[in-house]
């Protein structure tokens, strides 16, 4: 019996102790009409050797693909030490550190993580994580609406440069509370600063940017931040944390800096893994900390005066505040934060900066080569590690042609950004070699020759 330690003798003696004649008796409070005695929808058990064969076979079906896809999830090299240490049983099989004295490992690690995230973002207070970049964005919008007491409208300005899936997830999460997202248009792939004038005199709780934008471009965040702050609008920056090793931190945007930074933590040592588990991060100014959702770790002293760590500011949370909590979040993405903290420690500021620069250089190499192909142009700049490739024919034709050669060509932008015509979002991280890029460009050129212009 997998994972059940009981001997027949144990069972007999335990039942005798309870005063039951069989284990079936233990379910006698379930009304007879509700009891079931079989699970026909579940297959028979497999041994560990059998499930290993099955999973290896299925994994092999999916493997050996070279990816130029980004669009919110990025392939980076992850040092061996990251997951070797993160999956130690003492991290992997512990739970939320409610018993602080028995959880100092996890608690100190989260404190170190919080410190690293404040460093990357240039803001003051980090939480212990949220589910992913999309839900972190939704929670940031909700937090800003709660925190901005000067605003009564429940309306939030969101740049069209924010990941369209994040906007869709946010809408699904916030609409029950009557909060509305209002879109700021783009010009040349970046938030249109001049278009902000149309919102003058209207009431908004927050303005949200993504850095770099979903289209890969780097926003001029200073002017937009100042515009918002002059109108008592809080500024939320959804940022790729790897890019912050290179780009200006949200805490330094404009005169006073953004108020909340959030985003997808996946580029910090988390494998692609079909989309999860990843983690959402959130960092804010001190003034907003009591509106922060999720767990926060603080330093304190024990009765002997030794430094220790514990969950704090818990009066915000659901287990204390119930229906008045800042969020219903409880379990977050602790194991992912463990990996990310180890990853950031191994790379350090200089290592992350080099990875960011290598990504940028690879994407430039790719974009420059693609721009030389007839019928292809690179739409916007400056970009970080993704570029919009405009085509004279449907992007899907290229995606399919390269897909048959086990190359993921990029993300088809036509559904979410029809104004760009046929456009493909491509990404070459540091994990791609110049040979990979050469092979991609050759396959791309070949596909263009074989397919028809629109």
């Amino acid at each position: 019996m997998p994972y059940i330690p009981h001997t027949d003798k144990d069972v007999a003696e335990m039942l005798a102790g309870i005063g039951a004649s069989s284990t079936e008796d233990l379910f006698d409070e379930i009304p007879v009409g509700l009891r079931v005695d079989d699970l026909p929808g579940v297959p028979e058990a497999l041994t560990e050797a059998e499930i290993t064969r099955l999973m290896r076979r299925r994994a092999r079906r999916d493997g050996e693909v070279v990816s130029f896809l980004g669009a919110g999830a990025y392939e980076h090299y992850i040092p061996a030490a990251v997951w070797d240490v993160a999956t130690r049983g003492e991290f992997y099989s512990a739970y939320t550190p409610y018993q602080a004295e028995a959880s100092q490992g996890t608690l100190q690690l989260i404190y170190e993580y919080q410190t690293m995230m404040t460093g990357l973002t240039g803001l003051d207070v980090s939480n212990a994580s949220l589910y992913d970049g999309a839900t972190a964005f939704a929670e940031a919008c909700l937090m800003a609406v709660r925190a901005n007491r000067k605003s009564k409208s429940g309306r939030v300005l969101v740049s069209r440069g924010v990941n369209p899936i994040y906007r869709s997830v946010t809408d699904a999460i916030i609409k029950g509370q009557g909060i509305e997202l209002v879109e700021i248009p783009l010009r040349d792939g970046r938030t249109d600063v001049d278009a902000l004038a149309q919102f003058d005199g209207q009431d908004f709780a927050a303005l949200c940017l993504q850095q770099p934008t979903f289209l890969g471009t780097i926003e001029e965040a200073d002017a937009i931040t100042d515009w918002a702050h002059e109108r008592n609008i809080l500024v939320i920056g959804s940022c790729n944390p790897l890019s912050l090793a290179l780009l200006k931190a949200p805490g330094d945007w404009g005169e006073n800096g953004a108020d909340i930074a959030c985003g997808e933590g996946q580029p910090l040592g988390i494998p692609l893994s079909s989309g999860g588990p990843y983690f959402g991060y959130m960092v804010c100014r001190t003034q907003l900390q009591r509106q922060m959702p999720g767990r926060i770790v603080g330093g304190t002293l024990d009765i002997e005066g030794r430094v220790g760590y514990t969950l704090t500011l818990q009066a915000r949370e659901q287990h204390i505040r119930r229906s008045k909590a800042t969020s219903n979040i409880c379990t977050n993405q602790g194991l992912m934060v463990t990996a990310a903290t180890i990853h950031m420690s191994l790379l350090g500021a200089e290592g992350l900066r080099r990875v960011a620069l290598a990504c940028h250089a690879n994407t430039r190499m790719l974009a420059d080569a693609l721009a030389k192909i007839d019928g292809v142009s690179i739409a916007f700049g400056p970009y970080f590690h993704e570029a919009v490739v405009q085509l004279d024919r449907p992007a899907q034709s290229i995606i399919e042609a390269l897909g048959s050669q086990k190359i993921l060509a990029g993300y088809d932008l036509s559904a979410h950004y029809p104004e760009l015509g046929s456009a493909l979002l491509v990404c070459a991280t540091e994990a791609r070699t110049s040979d990979d890029i050469g092979a991609y460009v050759a396959a791309f050129e070949d596909a263009m020759k074989k397919s028809q212009a629109a």
Partner: protein, 493 residues
């Protein structure tokens, strides 16, 4: 011995250089877009990193190292095979937006998982996307709301929750724009039916229930509860926190529930990870299927072969939408899939069988040792409550003191002070993977602490003595907030 912060180990100019490209390429990004100073991150060698985080891990209690009877959390053994196989390189390297042609192996697992979860709950359909129990609750209440809105029933905004419910239930109601209405529990641990009848009406959107309840007993009048709520036009939400107790013994679908979430990190043994990732898959009956969060995995037959595809907005126009950037905690879902395949049909039923045996045995042992169990006339589910109120009155030693003294004896503490109804309570959930001798040792430890409380209460109050730190000053933590380390020469702090 204390472990310094990684920042205190750091020295300027030291790096673990093999993990980043060695040549820094030229770039022409405008200077006003770039940061001027490097972020505050440590500069440490790989060995320093490995040693530091290994040492930190050793400052944790965990299932792999201690009995961890944390009530309502189902801290059972997390099989190593589940982790290893979910981390096969091809699974880890698969991009979430990659074409389905390059994901048939993964998608087949997800499709089968959807079916198996529906099968063990008696429901019609599953969505795997919610990333934790609380998000599963959100999905469920959002579906209930969408269902009423689709029927033009816009006034149904009240969600009934028992007073013993998890805090996430009322918090979820608020997030969905609903109002939580609490109803009391009767003295026998079942819902107060009169209070329920009074609470329902044309404003009722639904009720959220955990069954067995957080009091560790099966709600015996569940069919009647379902009838009252359905007759009033409301729907029933099943909080799957305690599914471990009835796995393969009864179906929430048969009890009358319309929608539920499962905590895969509880019942299906995916890791708790020091606070996540969880996974809160949702199952529904036919009437709520159109509202399931997307994406859902579908199957088509193409050229006589199974082909797995994503069902998205176009296929499910009435969906409540997307709740994650991609499809939720995919790697965790893989672990749950592997666990279910290893246990199989019979193993699923053994989970509830031995979880219930262990709970009832431990409850009887503690009752025999003189402890007050909350509902002695009731059968325990997979967990039960001990109230220490009498001992607290007698000795001044509280449930929290017991919790700390257990740590010194090599046991993680049970859940304390939850549910809120029972004073000085311990909610104890041994799970099916614990051996009898560990249950006996735990019972004996509790008795020993109780005896010490009577003979030398200060010795109990002083616990824990053996943990890396002793009792921490939570008030200081909240009053003098220290939420991030700052270098000594940083004048801003």
């Amino acid at each position: 011995m204390s472990e310094p912060l990684i920042f205190e180990i750091s020295q300027r100019g030291r790096r673990a250089p093999s993990h980043a490209p060695s040549d820094v390429p030229e770039h022409d990004l405008p200077a006003d877009l770039l940061r001027e100073d490097p972020p505050l991150l440590p500069e440490v060698s790989e060995l320093q990193v490995v040693r530091h985080f290994t040492r930190l891990s050793q400052r944790n209690f965990s299932i792999d190292t201690e009995f961890y009877p944390l009530g309502s959390c189902t801290m059972k053994y997390n099989p190593k095979a589940c982790n290893r196989l979910a981390m096969l390189p091809e699974f880890l390297e698969r991009h979430p937006l990659g074409a389905v042609e390059h994901g048939q192996g993964f998608l087949e697992c997800m499709y089968e998982l959807q079916d198996m979860l529906a099968a063990v709950t008696g429901m019609a359909a599953t969505s795997l996307t919610p990333m934790a129990g609380a998000q599963g609750e959100f999905a469920g209440v959002a579906m209930i709301r969408a269902y009423h809105d689709a029927n033009g029933d816009h006034e149904r905004r009240e969600i009934i929750v028992p007073d013993a419910a998890h805090g996430t239930n009322p918090a979820t109601a608020t997030m969905c724009g609903c109002v939580a209405v609490e109803i009391p529990t009767g003295a026998d641990g079942d819902i107060d039916m009169d209070a329920l009848r009074d609470a329902v009406g044309p404003q009722t959107a639904g009720i959220m229930l955990t069954n067995p309840s957080t009091l560790g007993v099966f709600e015996r009048k569940i069919t009647e509860v379902a009838k009252i709520v359905h007759d009033a036009g409301g729907l029933l939400y099943y909080d799957g926190a305690n599914l471990n107790a009835i796995l393969g013994r009864a179906f929430p679908g048969d009890m009358g529930f319309d929608v539920m979430h499962l905590n895969l990190h509880k019942t299906f043994s995916t890791p708790h990870g020091g606070g996540g990732p969880g996974s809160g898959a949702v199952c529904v009956n036919e009437r709520l299927e159109p509202f399931l969060p997307i994406p859902v995995v579908g199957k088509k037959i193409v050229d006589g072969e199974d082909r797995y595809v994503w069902l998205t907005e176009a296929d499910r126009p009435r969906s409540i939408g997307r709740l994650s950037a991609f499809m939720g905690n995919a790697g965790i879902l893989l672990r749950a899939y592997i666990y279910m395949r290893i246990l199989g049909r019979e193993g699923m039923r053994r989970v509830s069988e031995f979880a219930t045996l262990n709970a009832n045995y431990l409850m009887k042992r503690l009752a025999d040792l003189g402890f007050d169990v909350a509902f002695p006339e009731r059968r325990a589910s997979h967990e039960f409550i001990v109230s220490l109120k009498a001992i607290t009155s007698e000795t001044g030693i509280t449930a929290m003191d017991f919790a700390k003294a257990l740590l010194d004896r090599g046991f993680h503490a049970p859940t304390t002070y939850f549910p809120l109804l029972i004073p000085e309570c311990l909610l104890i959930e041994p799970t099916e993977t614990e051996a009898r001798q560990d249950l006996d040792a735990f019972a004996n430890a509790l008795a020993e602490i109780r005896d010490l409380a009577r003979s030398d209460p200060d010795a109990v109050k002083a616990a824990p003595m053996t943990t890396p730190v002793r009792r921490l000053d939570d008030v200081r933590a909240a009053r003098h907030l220290d939420l991030a380390w700052r270098p000594a020469d940083d004048a801003s702090q």
